[in-house]
């Protein structure tokens, strides 16, 4: 399992390990949907600290979870990306719609 989840302050914290590409994208979407549904939570914080690579499949998976949460009036934030991953996030335009924070405390305080 390359995805770990926990709950803090009524937010689902999801940590992805390794490369967020086509292989992990479907698993990523399914795990988050199931956890949010089971826990009846609609706040998601995605911790990218351990993500070493991201491409458009990974970005699409993040965006689809954002859309899913938005439809339920939920909120989502990204935290801790490594520089190479942050650059791809910036170039993709996804940061225009999903907020990014330096760490978990700041994200929890903001959303």
């Amino acid at each position: 399992m390359n995805i770990k989840t926990r709950v803090e302050q009524n937010a689902l914290i999801v940590t992805v390990f390794g490369e967020l590409d086509l292989v992990i994208a479907e698993q990523f979407k399914a795990v988050i949907e199931k956890e949010l549904e089971n826990l009846k939570i609609n706040t998601l914080i995605l911790d990218l600290k351990e993500v070493t690579f991201i491409d458009s499949s990974g970005l699409g998976a993040i965006l689809s979870r954002y859309k899913m949460l938005s439809e339920k009036h939920g909120r989502m934030a990204l935290i801790n990306p490594q520089p190479a991953v942050k650059r791809i996030l910036e170039l993709s335009g996804i940061l225009r719609i999903i907020n990014i924070y330096e760490d978990l405390n700041r994200a929890l305080a903001a959303i």
């Binding site: 690579f53 491409d55 458009s56």
Partner: protein
Amino acid sequence: MENTQNWQNYIRLELASIPENVGLARITIASFVSQVDLTLNDLEEIKVATSEAVSNAIIHGYENNKNGKVIIEAIRQDDRLILTVEDYGKGIEDIEKAMEPAYSTDPERMGLGFVFMKSFMDQVHVNSTVGQGTKVTMEKILKPVKAIN
């Protein structure tokens, strides 16, 4: 493929059209170009472009059918990387439209595959025939770190 006498190096990979091979292709191409001392940004860009082209072949070319083959060839010629990713899948009906930003046949995807390829490589050419397959050819000038400094 171009005249072998001008190559510094050449590889050809033939991979099953399964998602697990996207990472394999990416790492192999990264290793291939790392024979030139590139910046981390350049290396990352080549990895993303490779990932996008191979993912497209699997998702769109073969529509996630695992029985297809993806052929990847890379040439290092002087200061250029020439990278081709070919599939024998369903082909692209409208290449111009497929290359538009945010265009995707799948609502779960961002339509950024070709955008990243065009942004991160110096040239991208797509040849596609419906029912026969698609060949994406990308070129990037490799700038060794020493030359930049």
